[in-house]
């Protein structure tokens, strides 16, 4: 074995700083992806044909094309079509939110349909309107049911976030590549990156598990 971390030791903090971009990116994409996914799922169950078609075609496009293709499209097409000089992180968050929304919308739709119909009937019989009924009665129960799936989605987002290194976001992977190019050692920086990702994913998994248990207890 010929591994030598001593040469990149001074650069490890530089790689670790990429966690900021990686986590920021994951958090924003998870957040917006969840909101957008919720909207799409509501369109799908709305029973109004044009809205349902839109949501289904949308989902089919974002699930049917590679994420890297979508990222490149948005990063390069936005300045050309709108004149707005989109920043790599913005392009990344936008693409990943749009993409994640498509995936999550199916999960949320399933979660909503799994909530007992009696819940909506009880709310309706009390004169509660559709908006508050979904927000206060149905969605909290739906989200609780699909929490493991949502945690998985954010873990996937975290790992897929390495794709943004392609358009120049200085995330953990990008930084390890920079170090590799500087020091002419290619293997070790990537191992450092892998360890960092693994630790974050384990942290997320543990957190999701704790949250799930907490929610189970409260009812």
């Amino acid at each position: 074995m010929n591994l030598d971390f001593s040469r990149i030791l001074p650069n490890i903090p530089f790689i670790i700083q990429g966690i900021v971009d990686t986590l920021l990116f994951t958090a924003l994409s998870t957040f917006f992806g969840f909101i957008w996914g919720t909207v799409l799922s509501l369109l799908k169950i709305s029973g109004l044909p044009p809205l349902g078609w839109f949501a289904n075609i949308y989902t089919s496009f974002f699930r049917g094309t590679p994420l890297l293709v979508q990222l490149s499209l948005i990063y390069y097409a936005t300045p050309q079509l709108t004149g707005y000089n989109i920043q790599p992180l913005e392009a990344g968050v936008l693409t990943f939110s749009l993409n994640s929304g498509a995936y999550i919308s199916e999960t949320i739709r399933g979660g909503i349909l799994a909530v007992d119909r009696g819940q909506t009937e009880a709310a309706k019989s009390l004169g509660v309107a559709y908006g508050p009924m979904m927000r206060d009665i149905v969605l909290p129960q739906a989200v609780k049911n699909i929490l493991p799936a949502l945690a998985n989605e954010s873990i996937n987002l975290l790992k897929d976030s390495t794709l943004v290194s392609v358009i120049g976001v200085t995330d953990v992977l990008r930084r390890s590549q920079i170090v590799a190019a500087e020091k002419f050692v290619y293997f070790e920086p990537i191992i450092v990156a892998a360890v960092i990702y693994y630790v974050i994913v384990m942290g997320l998994t543990t957190g999701a598990y704790a949250l799930e248990r907490h929610l189970q207890r409260s009812s």
């Binding site: 009696g118 009880a122 019989s125 009812s219």
Partner: protein, 253 residues
């Protein structure tokens, strides 16, 4: 419209049903029911399973949309397009066989939710109302409990309190004791009997013949989606007119 018709001495109509039909696809569940329920009247709806009792009840607050016919609540035809059904439902409480309490809310939150969200009551006002209702159903010590910790009978009493929190003039009960263990039936029926004395209009789908006989002002006997008999309890249980009712009662009693 006989808005001042008298039903068993009770003036004014709370619920008027005219030629009510309901089909589920090919299946005809209600085949033309017409009746009226007076203000303050307590009506028990009974009949064999599959006779359309629940569907009939659920048409009264449009949880089922009638295929044909009219439902008139307090003089307002609620089956007409453009009616604000949410507004109508605020005045019609409903209690379900399987309770349908909100599992992620405490007992108190369950009761306070609609008054807060729909009637825009302040937090203290809603809380005071909720506590007074919990006292009424005898569950004040369960205010902070989640529904999963309650027995069936307790759940149903909370569900009654939740429906009453909107201070409705009409209460619909869809087999409120059918999902309960036998020893819990009485506590729920006691609450309902208390409620019946308060002057609120009640329509109750039930299999509890003793309760129907004791508490109801009138029995509606449904069979095959039709109103087979409509008479006071002593008459219905004493000398039923139709053969179907006779057969039914022989099996039940």
């Amino acid at each position: 419209m006989p808005s001042n018709a008298i039903y068993n001495g009770v003036a004014e109509t709370a619920i008027q049903i005219e030629d009510l039909h309901k089909n589920f696809g090919q299946l005809r569940v209600l085949a033309g029911i017409s009746t009226a329920i007076g203000r303050g009247e307590v009506v028990a709806i009974i009949g064999p399973s599959g006779s359309g009792k629940s569907t009939f009840l659920r048409c009264m607050n449009l949880l089922e949309i009638p295929s044909q016919g009219r439902v008139i609540i307090d003089g307002q035809d609620i089956t007409r397009p453009g009616v604000d059904i949410m507004k109508v439902r605020q005045n019609i409480g409903m209690v379900f066989q399987h309770f349908h309490l909100f599992p992620h809310m405490t007992v108190l939150e369950n009761i306070m939710y609609a008054p807060r969200k729909v009637k825009k009551l302040t937090q203290p006002a809603a809380q005071e109302l909720a506590y007074s209702l919990l006292i009424r159903v005898g569950l004040q010590e369960k205010a902070g409990t989640y529904p999963s910790r309650l027995s069936g009978g307790q759940k149903q009493r909370v569900a009654i309190a939740r429906a009453l929190a909107m201070q409705p003039e009409i209460m619909l009960f869809d087999e409120p004791t059918s999902a309960l263990d036998p020893e819990m039936v009485k506590e729920v029926l006691d609450v309902m009997q208390e409620l019946a004395k308060s002057g609120i209009t009640m329509a109750i789908v039930t299999h509890e013949m003793g309760f129907a006989r004791k508490v109801a002002d009138r029995i509606l006997f449904l069979d095959g989606g039709q109103l087979a008999e409509d008479s006071p309890p002593e008459e219905f249980f004493g000398q039923p007119k139709s053969d179907r009712a006779k057969q039914f009662l022989e099996k039940m009693l």
